[in-house]
């Protein structure tokens, strides 16, 4: 009987509600695993900073604060826009959802564009930790370590952004083809959780990269 009402319900579920709740629980658990992934990185980062604070501070002073800050504002805005989209589909407004997805994806692309610009500036300043390095002297070791963590962390975050933009684009495409309605929009919510998580990772990385030890 459930087959007729909701063709997207897989046979192991009792009904669409059961399946939706399960899918969202799965996304939360996946994000818990992601927290440990980035958590391991940030713990290692803090551990190394603890032993070489001067070098890390010297490294942090070379970061491009204005790009990081604009990117922070962009991502928080994008999460807000996407959440608005979720509220629209709850009310059954598919057209607005598509618009919100497109704006979110555009902001994401803008973020990546700025990020690539920032990497370009970093590389042209010889801030890549391998090879000739801008900072010399006693603080060089710690500063190189800072920039190692910087490139690993921002690289991983950028990979997550690319996946996120693809997912948001997929939601928009699905919505345009009338897949979602006020009765069923689980993927919209699940992608929203992921997008907000990627946003939160940046909120954590921002002070670690740009603010700590800057003075």
């Amino acid at each position: 009987m459930s087959d007729e009402i909701a063709p997207h319900v897989h046979f192991q579920y009792a009904d669409a509600r059961h399946q939706s709740d399960t899918a969202l629980a799965g996304m939360w658990l996946f994000l818990a695993s992601e927290v440990l992934f980035f958590g391991g990185l940030i713990v290692a980062w803090m551990f190394c900073r603890h032993w070489q604070p001067d070098g890390f501070d010297a490294g942090a002073r070379e970061t491009v604060l204005w790009i990081g800050t604009i990117n922070l504002i962009l991502l928080v805005t994008s999460s807000f826009v996407y959440s608005t989209g979720v509220a629209f589909i709850e009310a059954g407004d598919v057209r607005r959802l598509v618009q919100c997805c497109l704006i979110t994806a555009c902001i994401g692309v803008l973020f990546l564009g700025l990020k690539f610009l920032e990497w370009y500036l970093d590389l042209s300043e010889h801030l890549f930790p391998a090879g000739p390095f801008k900072i010399t002297g006693g603080e060089a070791g710690g500063a190189r370590l800072f920039w190692s963590f910087y490139f690993v962390a921002t690289g991983l975050h950028a990979v997550h952004m690319i996946v996120g933009i693809a997912l948001v684009g997929w939601v928009a495409w699905q919505a345009r083809h009338r897949t979602y309605s006020a009765n069923w929009y689980t993927p919209v919510e699940a992608v929203g959780l992921y997008w907000s998580f990627v946003d939160i990772v940046w909120i954590v990385l921002y002070p670690v990269i740009y603010l700590v030890g800057r003075t």
Partner: protein, 545 residues
């Protein structure tokens, strides 16, 4: 939980999962948890015999003090290959992805796992990771040991470190996917009436295992990523010459890899908790204690990693804390052993092959566990660290424990999986042979370690030869005991007598559906009204279940 009944399965849909589609495509693109379990079973069997071959070559080399056939360099690559394959491509996935995948939905009265496509993705990730690692191991290999300690692995080691690490990294995500699937399935897809305390212990232990999969594996992933970054660009995250900290690598590595030891044993503890009640015809003694000791092992297991680093230069204070916590983890492990013995007490014990494997497990696990206490003691560890004592200790848990449990589970659920009976007498013989061969292989290694023979050397002083020859002789017996099931189980698939739905007269939802089950598992979703081990009291008549 708000699960309602699904639509019943019609009789014409009740074809066995094995015959529901016979094309290669119907297997490689299946989302049926039972078929994915079979795919996994074939894959890990191949890995098991590859890893085993490396071990065989190691034991052959150690027949004579100067090393029989290998240079030091080749020997290093062989034990690394053995460790990497056995840990990541056999022991970690073994029971969860094969028997867990097959049995968990059946035990829950569910029609599949919560996310069948992610389950299939998990197998593909596993295979991609496996092929990546195998390519590297055969194209020249790695000589770092399975632990990849930096800066050896990041700066000095020759060989394909990056490719092996990439393989482990990718296969890590396959276990995360499996763990995620299990946790969500156990929370959300239990049959009506199947409360938490009516869940079989196997489910509880896979739940505990899955928590470790989901929360520890990502830390290994980031560690390996930093290691790769350091190796590719020669920057010093871990290399002290470049300003890094080698202890940091060990902390991060063991933060995953010690819980991973419990990934490797918890499913085995669950299997034995299933088998002992069935073949004693008794309730599991102290069900709640067994259940919560699984959870306790998983939780405490996250906080003992520093006991691998007693002689690595971590602070004495840290060592004392880790030593105490390591002693603490012995308590829930001992609770399990005592509860199995309590279950056996005054039971009507039947010595079928799964039970012989399970009883062997109890003895070997206890030996491995107790010798772990020697190593958790700070002073003793200084003497025993990096010797064959450690090798013997963890092989008693991993091989004597987990591999026995894997074979126990394989025999116990074989009629359900294949729909056939295996030849019982030859199975009992191979179970006994495995126990004997195992002890002959590894007990001498306790003595070797105590006498001071270090691990990971291709040659040794002549006075250690007798014990090494004993160990190698045992390894040949062990190899025979591993090969026998490969032949008779394969034979039984084609020629074995058909199995009934419940050949062991066991209680449990998986036995209430035909052998082999049909694709949707149950005709109607079962309703559960009692616990998983509701066997009649031993005093009562054997009117049976």
């Amino acid at each position: 939980m708000s699960q309602t009944m699904q639509a019943p399965v019609l009789p014409q849909q009740m074809t066995s999962y094995l015959t529901d589609g016979t094309s290669l495509r119907s297997w490689l693109l299946t989302t049926d948890h039972k078929r994915i379990a079979v795919l996994y079973m074939l894959s890990i069997t191949a890995f098991f015999f590859l890893g085993g071959s490396a071990a065989a070559l190691i034991r052959y080399n150690l027949l004579v003090p100067e090393g029989a056939i290998q240079s030091a360099e080749t020997y290093n690559r062989l034990f690394t290959m053995h460790g990497v394959i056995m840990v990541w491509f056999f022991l970690v996935p073994a029971v969860p992805v094969t028997l867990g995948n097959f049995i968990v939905p059946l035990m829950l009265g569910a029609r599949d796992l919560a996310f069948p496509k992610i389950n299939l993705l998990s197998w593909y990730l596993f295979m991609i990771g496996g092929v990546c690692a195998l390519y590297a191991l055969f194209a020249g290999g790695v000589d770092t040991g399975w632990t990849f300690y930096a800066p050896l692995s990041s700066n000095y080691a020759q060989g394909h470190v990056v490719a092996v690490v990439a393989g482990i990294f990718i296969s890590g995500f396959s276990t995360i996917a499996t763990g995620l699937n299990f946790i969500i399935t156990i929370h959300r897809l239990r049959a009506p009436g199947l409360t938490w305390y009516r869940l079989p212990v196997f489910i509880w232990s896979l739940y505990a295992t899955s928590v470790i999969f989901v929360l520890a594996t990502p830390v290994l992933a980031i560690t390996l990523l930093l290691l790769t970054f350091e190796r590719l660009f020669h920057v010093g995250v871990f290399d002290p010459r470049l300003g890094g900290d080698p202890l940091l690598f060990q902390h991060l590595f063991w933060f995953y890899s010690h819980p991973a030891v419990y990934i490797m044993i918890l499913p085995g503890l669950g299997v034995v908790s299933e088998i002992v009640p069935v073949f004693s015809r008794k309730q599991l003694f102290g069900y709640k204690f067994v259940v919560w000791s699984s959870i306790a092992i998983a939780v405490i297991g996250f906080f003992v990693w520093g006991h691998h680093m007693f002689v690595s230069g971590q602070s004495l204070f840290a060592s004392i804390a880790f030593s105490l916590l390591s002693f603490l983890v012995a308590v829930p492990s001992a609770i399990k052993v005592f509860n199995w013995l309590g279950t056996l007490h005054k039971g009507r014990i039947r010595f079928d092959a799964p039970m012989i494997y399970a009883l062997g497990f109890i003895g070997l696990f206890t030996t491995g566990g107790l010798t772990g206490l020697f190593l958790a003691a700070l002073a003793a560890d200084v003497h025993l660290h990096d010797t064959y004592f450690v090798i013997a200790h963890f092989h008693y848990i991993m091989v004597g424990g987990m591999v026995s449990a894997y074979f126990a589970a394989l025999h116990y659920w074989w009629p359900k999986i294949s729909g056939r009976r295996y030849p019982e007498m030859i199975a009992r013989a191979s179970a006994l042979l495995m126990f004997l061969g195992f002890n002959l292989t590894f007990f001498p290694q306790f003595i070797l370690g105590y006498l001071g023979m270090p691990r990971r050397y291709h040659a040794y002083p002549p006075e250690f030869q007798v014990l090494n020859v004993l160990s190698s002789a045992g390894a040949t017996i062990l190899a025979a005991a591993y090969l026998m099931p490969l032949f008779y189980l394969t034979y039984s698939v084609f020629r074995g007598p058909r199995a009934p739905a419940n050949p062991w007269a066991a209680i449990g939802l998986e036995w209430q559906t035909p052998s082999p089950p049909f694709t949707k598992n149950f005709a109607v979703t079962p309703i559960v009204t009692e616990g998983p081990y509701a066997y009649p009291d031993p005093g009562s008549d054997l009117a049976d279940v």
